[in-house]
């Protein structure tokens, strides 16, 4: 059973639009949620993270919204740029890190 779920599987937006990536989890003991960005041929790199004591974390154009009661979080990428085209993984602190299946984001100019 997938402990961390992501949707959609893929997402296409135009440059300048906001991309919204969703994530949900099963285990209420999870308390740290990093988002990783991965480009083809590269390893994942930490983009932004949030702990369960916060409901929002912002870093430039990237914002995480966290709803602990519903065990859901989302990553918003505002003013999307073609360079944001990548796969984004939501993860939770279990067994090191447990990753979701990822959302492949394509930003077209």
């Amino acid at each position: 059973q997938q402990q961390v779920r992501q949707s959609p599987q893929s997402l296409t937006v135009w440059e300048g639009e906001t991309a919204i990536l969703n994530c949900s989890y099963e285990d209420s003991t999870f308390n740290y949620f990093p988002w990783y960005q991965q480009f083809p041929g590269e390893g994942p790199a930490l983009l932004i993270s949030i702990s369960s004591v916060s409901d929002k974390k912002e870093d430039g154009r990237f914002t995480i919204f966290f709803n602990k009661r519903e065990k859901k979080l989302s990553l918003h990428i505002t003013d999307s740029q073609p360079g944001d085209s990548a796969t984004y993984f939501c993860a939770a602190n279990a067994q090191g890190l447990t990753f979701g299946l990822g959302t492949r984001v394509s930003v077209f100019p």
Partner: protein, 113 residues
């Protein structure tokens, strides 16, 4: 920023042979991990390692897999014997503590033929 180095970047090996994947983690990190990724899909946890010991391992970490970090040198993943389904990209990662940033290498693409 801190870098995790993985050697080699690509390895092709005959089924049944042994392979060792090498990882040079970030120098002051204490926790080490291996992940498996097939076809750019999900990153699947294999094992984490701390203070010379395996802390946790997943069901993907078969008996044919082993890890070690002798004398603080490379952190290695050994597969003996290899099987066709072991073909994947293996990522090494390290962190200074639990719930701290985990840094990943660029991966070793293993092809078992």
């Amino acid at each position: 920023g801190p870098k995790v180095l993985q050697i080699p970047s690509h390895q092709i090996i005959d089924m049944g042979q042994m392979v060792t994947l090498n990882c040079d983690p970030v120098s002051n990190h204490l926790y080490f991990y291996w992940y498996k990724q097939i076809l750019g899909q999900q990153m699947e946890f294999l094992v984490n390692f701390y203070n010379g010991k395996v802390m946790e391992k997943s069901k993907l970490f078969k008996d044919q897999f082993s890890v070690e970090r002798p004398d603080g040198s490379y952190f290695t993943l050994k597969i003996q014997p290899t099987a066709l389904e072991d073909s994947a990209v293996y990522f090494c990662a390290s962190s200074s503590g639990l719930n701290t940033e985990v840094f990943f290498g660029k991966g070793t693409r293993l092809t078992v033929v």
